[in-house]
C-alpha cells in the first residue's frame, strides 16, 4: 500500500528568490511576491502515472492540501488518516508520516524538498520506505526521484512487483538562514529507505552486485580489510560508515564521528576537540564516505572532521570509502572538500583513491570549491 504526503508550501520560496520556504515569515513574503506552491501539481503528475496502470488504487494520505486533494486530482481513491493542525507546522509532516506507517503503508511518497524529507524521516520507522517527488527548493538529500513521472513509475513498479530493492539514503538539510547568508553547510539529519530499480535481466551479464546494499557491504569490507593495528580510525557519519562498523563488529553513532583503535571504539560521537586529543596520541586516519548527492567528503555533515583535525593527522589523512555506484551517480562531477582552510583543501584536492571493495579502488577527482587553482587538470 502506498501513501502520499504533500508539503503544501514546499518550493514556495524558490521562485521568489528566498532560498527556501522554511518559516512563516518567508512563506508570507513568498505569497506577497505571487509565488504558488508547486508541490501539489507535481504530486498529481506522479500519481497520474500510477493511475494510468492502476485506476482503482487506494492511496493513504493526509487531509486536504497535504495529499487528499492531489490523490483525487489524479483520479485515485484517498484514504485519509491524518488531519493537519491549524495553523500548520513542520510536525504535521512528521505526524502524518507516522500515521501512514501505523496503518501499514509500506511506501510513502512525499512531495517537497530537504525540509520535508527531514520531517518524513523523523516520523517513519526504519521498515517503511519513502521516495521524494522533487518539489522543493533545496534537494541535497539523495532521496528524490529525478522527476515526478519517474517517482510515479517507481511507485507503480512498487505496487506491481512487491519486491523492489531499497537503499539507505542520507537526509541532509541546510539551515536556510545560513543559505540566505550564502553559506551552505548541510547537516546530516538521518536516513530514509529509498526504493530503486536495479538493472533487470540484462544486468545479470555483470558480476557487479546489482543490489545496492550488497555494494555498500563490499566497499565497507574493503575498508575493514585495510585497517591496521595501532592506528586510530576516525569513522565519519553515514550509511557506508555504519556498514564499516558492522564489519568491525563495533557500535556506531549514526550521525557522529567515532574513533576506533584495534577493533574497539575509544570515543563515540566525538567533538572536534576530542578528535584532536585522540589524534595527538598516535597515528590516525579519517575514514569517510560521500555525503549526499553533491559529492562532499569533508565539510558537509561531518564538520567535526575539521581542517585542524585533518592537519593534525598529517600525511594521507583520509581514506574514502564508497560503492562505485556512488561515484557514478555524481555524473562526472568531482568529489568536494570544504574544510574552511584553503591550505588543507588544497592538499586534499587532486585525486582520491576511493575504496570500493576488498581488492578494488577507483581514482576519482577531488575539487575544493572554495579555493581557486585546486581544480584537477583536465
Amino acid at each position: 500500500m502506498i501513501g502520499l504526503i504533500v508539503n503544501p508550501i514546499a518550493g514556495i520560496g524558490g521562485p521568489a528568490g528566498l532560498a527556501g520556504s522554511d518559516g512563516a515569515d518567508v512563506q508570507r513574503r513568498a505569497g506577497e511576491r505571487g509565488a504558488r506552491p508547486r508541490a501539489a501539481e507535481r504530486a498529481v503528475a506522479a500519481l497520474a502515472v500510477v493511475a494510468a496502470s492502476r485506476p482503482d488504487e487506494h492511496v493513504v494520505t493526509a487531509a486536504g492540501p497535504m495529499g487528499e486533494d492531489a490523490v483525487r486530482a489524479a483520479g485515485l481513491r484517498p484514504i485519509v488518516v491524518w488531519h493537519q493542525r491549524s495553523p500548520t507546522s513542520p510536525s504535521d509532516t512528521t505526524d502524518a508520516a507516522r500515521a501512514l506507517a501505523d496503518v501499514g503503508v509500506d511506501l510513502v511518497l512525499f512531495a517537497g524538498g530537504d525540509g520535508t524529507a527531514r520531517d518524513v524521516a523523523a516520523g517513519l520507522p526504519a521498515s517503511t520506505a519513502a521516495l521524494g517527488i522533487p518539489a522543493g527548493v533545496k534537494m541535497y538529500s539523495p532521496a528524490f526521484a529525478v522527476g515526478p513521472s519517474a517517482a510515479g513509475a517507481l511507485a507503480a513498479a512498487w505496487l506491481d512487483e512487491r519486491a523492489l530493492p531499497t537503499a539507505e539514503r542520507e537526509v541532509l538539510d541546510v539551515d536556510e538562514e545560513q543559505l540566505r547568508r550564502a553559506r551552505v553547510e548541510p547537516r546530516l539529519y538521518g536516513t530514509l529507505r529509498v526504493p530503486y530499480r536495479a538493472g533487470r535481466t540484462q544486468a545479470r551479464k555483470a558480476a557487479t552486485p546489482a543490489d545496492e546494499q550488497a555494494a555498500v557491504r563490499l566497499a565497507a569490507r574493503g575498508a575493514a580489510t585495510r585497517l591496521r593495528p595501532g592506528i586510530r580510525y576516525l569513522l565519519g557519519p553515514g550509511g557506508t560508515m555504519a556498514e564499516v562498523a558492522r564489519e568491525l563488529g563495533v557500535e556506531k553513532t549514526p550521525l557522529g564521528v567515532d574513533v576506533v583503535l584495534d577493533g574497539r571504539v575509544v570515543v563515540a560521537g566525538a567533538s572536534e576537540q576530542e578528535l584532536l586529543a585522540e589524534v595527538a596520541q598516535g597515528p590516525a586516519r579519517a575514514v569517510v564516505s560521500i555525503i549526499g548527492g553533491q559529492g562532499f567528503l569533508l565539510g558537509r555533515g561531518n564538520q567535526q572532521l575539521s581542517a585542524r583535525v585533518v592537519e593534525a593527522i598529517g600525511d594521507d589523512p583520509v581514506m574514502v570509502v564508497a560503492p562505485e555506484q556512488k561515484l557514478i551517480d555524481l555524473a562526472g562531477r568531482p568529489l568536494l572538500v570544504d574544510t574552511g582552510d584553503a591550505g588543507v583543501d588544497a592538499r586534499l584536492a587532486g585525486f582520491a583513491q576511493v575504496v570500493t571493495g576488498p581488492s578494488t579502488t577507483s581514482i576519482y577527482p577531488v575539487h575544493a570549491p572554495e579555493i581557486e587553482g585546486a581544480v584537477h587538470a583536465p
Binding site: G147, S149, A156, I328, T360, T361, I363, Y364
Partner: protein, 524 residues
C-alpha cells in the same frame, strides 16, 4: 491479398510467433523413438563380443540416461518452433547490441567448415595428416599479427574473456619470471573498458584500480599517472572504449605504464573501427587480443563457440598458451608450450571451424577490404548517431559534439526525466517492432543507457528503419506512455520475472532440478 500489393505502413507490423511449446522433457512419450537402431546381427556379435563389457567400470552407466523419447518429426517441429520465438541476428536489424559487433557472418563460409575434410578431422590427428588445417591456423595467426603489429599470435582461446584471461596470465607469468611477481600487485583499467579486464585481473589475484573519465569524457591521463607506481603490473584498457571514444593519448598511456615497469594490455575485442588504421604494437602495447567472433565475421557465442586471438610482443612470446602451430620450411608441426608457457586454457587448437571462417573472411576481403570494413563501420556509426541525436530526449554523453569510432553509448536520461519511461522499457517496446535493443554493461555509468553499433553490414535503409523505430517509441513515451510501459504486445514472452534469477534456491538450470524444486508444476 489482392493486387496490386498494398503499400507497407511506415513501421513494420511485426508479430513474433508464439507456439506455447512445452519443454522438450514434457513432450516425452515412453517408447517413442526417432531412430530404430537395427539389432546387432549374430555374426557381428560373435566377432566383437560384448563391447559394453570392455568399458572401464567408472564409465559404464548403471541406468539409461533420462532422455526424452519422441519421434523425429516432433523433435524437428519442437526446435523450429523455438527458433521462431527468437529475434535472431539474421532476422532483425541487429545494431542494438552495441559492443558485440553483430555483423553479417557470410553463409558461404558455413559450407567450407562442413566439408568432411575439416569436420572429420580429430584434434589429436598426426600433424602429417593435418597439414592443411595447421596451415590455415598458422596463416590466420600471421594475418592477425600483421593486423595488430604484434610479433606472435595464438588462436588457442575459445572466447573473448578467455583471451583476456590469457592476457593477464601471461602478464603475471612475465613479472614472476623477472622476480617482480610479489611487488607488482595492481592492475589499472578504465570504467569504460570491458568489465572482463577488471574481472580477469581480480581472478588472477590482482588489486584493481578503476579510472573514471576526465572532464571532457576522455580517459584521464592525469588519473592514470596518479595510479601508476612500482606496484603496477599492467594497464588493461579497451580502445575505443564502450562509448565509442578513441583515447587520443593512447601512446602516452602506454609510455607512462612502461615508465614504471608495467606492461600494457590492449582489449581489442572489438577492432571493427580500427582495422587497417591503427595497430596495437604501433602504440607500444605488449599484449592484445581480438574476439574473432566480433571483428572477423564468425558467429557469436549463442550461435556457436567464439574464438579469441592473443597477440604479444617478442618479449612475451614465451608465455603464450599452448599448443602452438610452428612452420618449418613448408611443413607445419605442433609444439606443446615451452617451459614459460601459461599452458592450455582450452583443449588443443581452439575452435578450428571459427578459425577457418575467419581465414575465409579475411582472404575474401584482402588488406584493402579490411580497411574498407573499418571505414564503412565508422561511417555507418556516425550516420546513425546523427539520426539518433535528432530524436528529442536522446543524447550521447561525453566528448560532446565529437565523432565516435564504431559505436556510441547513448542516454535516454532526458526522456526518462520527462516521462518516467526507462531505457529498458524502450528496449522492450522496440522488440514489438522486431528490433533487438540492449542497454549497457554494468555499472550503468551513462544514465538510462543504450548502445548501438551498426557495423559495416547494414545499409542506410536499415539504419534509417532502426532510428525510425526508436523515434516512434520515444514519441509514444511522451504521448501514449502506457503503450510503452505495458510492452511488449506482440512477443512470445511478455515479461521474465528476474526475482527467480536473484535467488539460487529458485534456480532450475536442469530438468532434474526443476522437477525437484517444483514438483507440483510437473506433476511428478
Amino acid at each position: 491479398m489482392s493486387l496490386p500489393i498494398a503499400p507497407k505502413p511506415a513501421h513494420r507490423r511485426f508479430h513474433q510467433a508464439r507456439w506455447d511449446e512445452p519443454v522438450i522433457f514434457e513432450l516425452s512419450t515412453p517408447g517413442e523413438r526417432g531412430v530404430l537402431v537395427t539389432a546387432v546381427e549374430p555374426g557381428v556379435r560373435d566377432a566383437v563380443g560384448d563391447v559394453v563389457a570392455s568399458l572401464p567400470e567408472g564409465l559404464a552407466r548403471r541406468t539409461p540416461p533420462a532422455l526424452p523419447e519422441m519421434g523425429q518429426m516432433r523433435v524437428l517441429k519442437h526446435y523450429l518452433r523455438l527458433s521462431q520465438e527468437n529475434l535472431g541476428a539474421d532476422l532483425n536489424v541487429d545494431v542494438g547490441q552495441g559492443t558485440c559487433t553483430m555483423k553479417y557472418a557470410p553463409k558461404v563460409n558455413e559450407q567450407l567448415i562442413t566439408t568432411p575434410k575439416l569436420s572429420a578431422m580429430h584434434p589429436l590427428q598426426d600433424p602429417a595428416d593435418a597439414q592443411g588445417a595447421l596451415e590455415i591456423i598458422w596463416r590466420t595467426e600471421r594475418m592477425l599479427a600483421e593486423i595488430s603489429g604484434m610479433d606472435e599470435v595464438s588462436l588457442h582461446t575459445q572466447g573473448g574473456s578467455a583471451a583476456i584471461w590469457a592476457n593477464i596470465a601471461m602478464i603475471r607469468a612475465y613479472h614472476e619470471a623477472n622476480g617482480e611477481g610479489a611487488q607488482r600487485r595492481e592492475v589499472i583499467t578504465t570504467i569504460f573498458s570491458h568489465p572482463s579486464n577488471a574481472a580477469a585481473a581480480k581472478a588472477a589475484g590482482y588489486d584493481v584500480i578503476t579510472l573514471h573519465p576526465d572532464a571532457d569524457g576522455y580517459p584521464d591521463l592525469a588519473a592514470l599517472k596518479r595510479a601508476l607506481s612500482p606496484r603496477t603490473a599492467a594497464i588493461m584498457v579497451t580502445n575505443p572504449e564502450d562509448t565509442g571514444i578513441y583515447n587520443p593519448a593512447i601512446r602516452e598511456w602506454v609510455d607512462a605504464a612502461h615508465a614504471v615497469g608495467a606492461l600494457a594490455s590492449y582489449d581489442q575485442a572489438n577492432a571493427n573501427g580500427i582495422l587497417g588504421i591503427t595497430r596495437a604494437r604501433d602504440a607500444g602495447f605488449d599484449v592484445c587480443h581480438f574476439n574473432v567472433h566480433k571483428t572477423f565475421g564468425t558467429p557469436h557465442g549463442s550461435g556457436g563457440p567464439g574464438t579469441g586471438a592473443n597477440g604479444v610482443s617478442a618479449a612475451l612470446a614465451p608465455f603464450l598458451p599452448g599448443p602452438r602451430v610452428v612452420r618449418d620450411g613448408d611443413r607445419y608441426s605442433v609444439h606443446e608450450g615451452g617451459p614459460q608457457s601459461i599452458g592450455a586454457i582450452g583443449p588443443c587448437h581452439g575452435v578450428v571451424p571459427n578459425i577457418v571462417r575467419a581465414y575465409a573472411w579475411m582472404m575474401a576481403l584482402g588488406a584493402e577490404g579490411l580497411r574498407a570494413v573499418a571505414e564503412t563501420a565508422v561511417l555507418n556509426n556516425n550516420y546513425l548517431m546523427k539520426r539518433i541525436l535528432e530524436i528529442p530526449g536522446a543524447s550521447a554523453p561525453y566528448a560532446t559534439g565529437r565523432r565516435r569510432i564504431e559505436q556510441v553509448r547513448y542516454s535516454w536520461q532526458e526522456l526518462f526525466e520527462e516521462t518516467g519511461i526507462s531505457s529498458e522499457e524502450i528496449g522492450i517496446r522496440a522488440s514489438d517492432f522486431g528490433m533487438h535493443y540492449w542497454t549497457s554493461h554494468h555499472p550503468y555509468v551513462v544514465p538510462q543507457p543504450f548502445t548501438l553499433e551498426p557495423t559495416e553490414s547494414y545499409s542506410k535503409a536499415e539504419l534509417d528503419e532502426y532510428a525510425d523505430v526508436l523515434a516512434e517509441v520515444a514519441r509514444e513515451a511522451r504521448e501514449t506512455p502506457e503503450v510503452v510501459r505495458t510492452a511488449p504486445h506482440s512477443q512470445s514472452v511478455h515479461h521474465t520475472h528476474h526475482d527467480d534469477l536473484d535467488d539460487p534456491e529458485r534456480w532450475a538450470i536442469t530438468w532434474r532440478a526443476y522437477r525437484r524444486k517444483y514438483p507440483d508444476a510437473v506433476g511428478a
